[in-house]
């Protein structure tokens, strides 16, 4: 057998499962009445086995023979995904300021309240620098992605729109906004320039949403967000991001109903990050978060069956992809190292570069400045390498966990701030464990297509297709 990890190969022929260079297959209970899962964590290989045949199949035979032939290829695929990519996207923060004071925001309060805007000229200069950088790194025919992010980017609307206008041919643009300033004229401009729009909403009712999302006077903005949602109906590329906290946990199923009824095509239901202390006040219980989240996923399927229209929950779809087609995953939080500093990076209004927006409040993670240093050098800076060098193999209990490459132990900023080290987990574990188990149950019951966008596997090669 060709070892999956030639650099670590022992003088073993790998004849047996579980010893020497043999496949390190781990069985997990997916809480399915007929099936259990067998996983080789390093290569992200998996199979569903009838529970009564688990030992017989796992210890050898046809499946193991097939796996042996493919192990090196799978390992190489994971190596490329984990260590072979270069940045192709940027979180671009055109202002430090925000008109809201959300409980869980990872941008420090002082910045959001009185921070600086990036001037129009500076913003254009920054995009010029990025254009030249990506020209040397991106494959021909691919455009890098710039997402204006926050704080609230529309507070610096003139500069942002000037950038979009001037560099429309050089980047694919997106904007993530709290929607309070997304008026008709803004939407017309964004549509005209083919900009993807993401808005934030945590609950279907103001009473719940306003608990965590309100302005500096403590007043909620739910009606403005609902107005923006109505205006966005029919917009070809828009999405809603919801943050799961203790305050909206019990309202995730109604939230799914709400979003689906308003024809939202895609959403993210992100678990809260507890990077900054204030957000820890609304940290949900790990197991409860899993329970309510999975109920929400079930609801999306019920609605699809009833109406024929899907509401795709992007972060869960990403976990399904991580299992079914690892190299096709879109979001890079649930892989180790995460995408921060290697697939994307963040730019602040003064040009400072951070591995991800989650680190913007943590000065020690500033790797350099866009206007003063070469971006390639910043990517190799000690600050960035702290993040890009965080490997799940160095974290307990992840190093022994069968689903380590379907979870990735997010998030490094949270691990560093809450648990004191990059070699620690983030704040949640069961939330990811249960999602992976649920994903395997969906595969066993042939329901995965109900959770993924139509045509999700177009253009993909089938590299394993085994059933007997």
């Amino acid at each position: 057998m060709t070892p999956a990890h030639p650099e670590a190969a022992a003088p073993s022929r790998g004849r047996y499962v579980g010893t020497g260079n043999g496949p390190a297959l781990q069985a997990i209970d997916i809480r399915h009445p007929r099936y259990a899962a067998l996983i080789e964590p390093d290569t992200a290989f998996w199979a569903l086995l009838r529970r009564d045949k688990l030992a017989e199949v796992a210890l050898g035979g046809e499946l193991v023979r097939v796996y042996r032939k493919k192990a090196a290829r799978f390992a190489e695929e994971m190596r490329t995904l984990r260590f072979g990519l270069t940045p192709s996207a940027v979180y671009f923060n055109p202002t430090e300021r925000c008109n809201l004071n959300c409980t869980y925001c990872y941008i420090p309060e002082g910045m959001r309240r009185t921070g600086r805007h990036m001037s129009r000229q500076k913003l254009l200069s920054a995009l010029e620098v990025l254009k030249h950088y990506f020209r040397g790194t991106m494959p021909k025919g691919s455009l890098p992605q710039i997402v204006f992010h926050g704080a609230e980017p529309l507070l610096n609307r003139d500069a942002v729109f000037a950038g979009i206008e001037r560099y429309a041919q050089d980047f694919r643009f997106g904007i993530q906004t709290n929607a309070t300033l997304l008026d008709d004229s803004a939407l017309a401009f964004l549509g005209q320039h083919e900009v993807s729009v993401g808005i934030s909403l945590d609950a279907p009712t103001a009473a719940v949403a306003d608990r965590t999302r309100s302005n500096w006077e403590g007043r909620g903005v739910h009606p403005q967000v609902l107005g923006a949602i109505e205006r966005l109906r029919g917009y070809p590329a828009w999405s809603v991001i919801s943050t799961i906290s203790s305050e909206n946990l019990r309202h995730l199923v109604p939230l799914v109903d709400f979003l689906h009824a308003r024809e939202v095509p895609t959403c993210l239901m992100n678990i809260l990050r507890t990077t900054l202390p204030r957000s820890r006040q609304v940290k949900p219980d790990d197991a409860a978060a899993a329970r309510y989240f999975l109920a929400a996923m079930e609801r999306t399927r019920e609605l699809y069956q009833r109406t024929g229209r899907k509401l795709i929950v992007g972060n869960f779809a990403n976990i399904l992809l991580a299992i079914l087609a690892p190299s096709a995953r879109r979001l890079m939080c649930d892989i180790s190292p995460c995408g921060g500093g290697r697939c994307f990076f963040a730019v602040t209004p003064n040009g400072d570069l951070f591995p991800c927006s989650e680190f913007i409040g943590l000065e020690e993670f500033c790797g350099g400045n866009l206007f003063r240093e070469d971006i390639s050098a910043v990517l190799q800076s000690p600050a960035f390498r702290l993040v890009t060098g965080r490997r799940i193999e160095d974290i307990d209990p992840c190093r022994h966990c069968a689903i380590r490459h379907f979870c990735g132990a997010p998030c490094p900023a949270e691990a560093h701030q809450v648990n004191g080290s990059m070699q620690k987990t983030g704040a949640f574990c069961e939330f990811y464990e249960e999602q992976v188990r649920y994903a395997f149950r969906l595969i066993a019951d042939e329901k995965v297509d109900d959770f993924l966008w139509d045509g999700w596997d177009e253009g993909m090669a089938s590299v394993l297709d085994f059933a007997r």
């Binding site: 046809e62 799978f74 490329t80 917009y235 697939c343 998030c411 297709d465 059933a467």
Partner: protein
């Protein structure tokens, strides 16, 4: 692909996509459950994946 080398009930409809074949293995509840199901797809990893923003494949078009 391994399909040609595997015997028995592994082969399924020739016209079905790989994903359909893999999923069909556990599709028909009236038949005995398959003992083993495994599938995987692959594509060129692009590495674009922002955690707080959904990257859309399709471009936004004019309203």
């Amino acid at each position: 692909m391994d399909a040609g080398r595997l015997s028995g009930s592994f082969f399924l409809l020739q016209t079905a996509s790989a994903n359909e074949r893999c999923m069909m293995a556990v599709k028909n509840p009236s038949k005995k459950s398959k003992t083993v199901v495994a599938c995987r797809k692959s594509c060129k990893a692009k590495g674009t994946g922002l955690s707080h923003y959904i990257l859309m494949d399709k471009k936004a078009k004019k309203k």
